[in-house]
Symmetry: C2
Subunit: 245 residues, 2 copies
DNA sequence: CGGTCTCTTGAGTTAAATCAAAGGCGGTGG
DNA sequence: CCACCGCCTTTGATTTAACTCAAGAGACCG
């Protein structure tokens, strides 16, 4: 389980918060931040789940290796996200730094204690779990019924929304992960990912800015191509007979 | 969000539990059970999330209708499962009875109150959320990297495990859902689902028992065909270079 | 500046989707 | 009780989107 922070507003001086944490991040504030080089593992699937981590800088990929050796990335954790939350004794997935990354570590005991006693924190954990669940369902929709093009556009759009909130209206989007990461996340091969990126570039929707960044020229077209429709509420009640499985 | 019960042991007389619920089911015990005919909707995606439901009999499909009218089933809820748990004001999915089904309804206020004040219940909700999250990740693995055959076998196996626990060693497995339901859950068309079922029958792995039940002749072969390997721990640490996206 | 790794592009293959049609089961009414 | 109708399911033929295989291009590093 990894928990995505939607907003992290530090209203109050951190010093005050050490003893009465108001946000999940506050709980981690006392911990020293640890550095991970790109590609370095934080923990492996099956390891005893002794710690919970907050990402303070950089990004992690969260994945499983399946029977035949293939990798399935179930999500990415970015600044402010918490990874390793679970009730099981072992981590159900591995986590690895995509790029230079910093995390704060907290023992599960401490984390559990903090969230058990503090209703505010508890609700935040619950809220994040719910959001993560919703994200997982979105991903299921993507994997079970979107085309390669729609998957890529959805991915870019999601990362745009995440970055946009902090980087104002800057249209240059950092993509720290490799094509392989994207492929393993989107259920596609690197070749298909590459082809779809080329297609978007050819159509002028995006422009390449080195290998790990793009400029989004036409966000609304990108959104349209992501195939989420307008989430048109009315249509939901009709049991529309659209085909394609 | 819907929560799966792993075990529902009523150690104590229910009467005693009314005031001090020990399990999530106990919270629903006072509520009258409502009947749903097959195909009947419990709630729609986007509806205001006023209630939480416990399935006491039968099964529900939990799904979303996407932009082009297609349906994606994100899960099924069976006896003992709780559906509708979320923090959002609106349900993020629809829920519909697959067959004759009974549910107990609880207002979100009551449910939240009960779980806020009772640590035991709260932990159960948390545990179920974690399990559901793990199931969602399994489903992502299935959708992003399993073949049609593996998907079907995984599906049958999962339902076998669920049913087995209560119906002893009886190898006849009820499949209340239609081929369309299976397809929308597994990311396949009804034709492909049907073909894969025929293939399993031809190979003698299963035998048809009417339309909505099968006999599993060779559970271990079925497990092998599900493609989950032996979850061999050692292989996990090797960054094996298996192909297929 | 050579080596390695990542990415791109092209050509051919394939698993599953689509299109099409027939078969079986269940319900309804004569 | 049987005939008919509608729905779900099965099976077959064809198409297609994405995968696989292959080779070349660009980036990064010692």
């Amino acid at each position: 389980m990894f928990l995505t922070s939607h907003r992290r507003d530090h209203h109050l001086a951190n010093a005050i918060l050490f003893d009465t944490p108001e946000t999940l991040s506050d709980v981690f504030l006392r911990q020293p931040s640890e550095h991970l080089a790109g590609g370095q593992s934080l923990f492996f699937e099956g390891d005893e789940a002794r710690h919970v981590f907050e990402v303070t800088e950089g990004s992690l990929r969260v994945f499983r290796i399946i029977a035949d050796g293939r990798r399935v990335i179930t999500g990415f954790a970015h600044e402010g996200d918490v990874v390793g939350v679970s009730l099981r004794s072992a981590y159900p997935y591995s986590a690895e730094a995509i790029c230079e990354t910093r995390v704060r570590r907290l023992s599960r005991r401490s984390f559990d204690a903090a969230t058990q006693e503090n209703e505010l924190l508890r609700n935040q954990v619950f809220a994040r779990l719910c959001d993560e669940m919703a994200a997982a369902q979105d991903q299921m929709v993507l994997l079970s019924s979107k085309t390669a093009e729609e998957r890529l556009c959805t991915f870019l759009l999601k990362h745009m929304k995440r970055t946009l909130s902090k980087q104002a209206l800057q249209p240059v989007l950092d993509i720290p992960m490799t094509r392989l990461d994207m492929g393993d996340y989107l259920g596609l091969t690197i070749e298909t990912v590459s082809r779809m990126i080329s297609k978007l570039i050819a159509r002028g929707v995006i422009s390449p800015v080195g290998r790990h960044a793009i400029r989004v020229n036409n966000p609304s077209l990108l959104a349209q191509m992501a195939g989420d429709g307008d989430e048109c509420e009315d249509q939901r009640r009709l049991v529309a007979g659209g085909r394609r499985h």
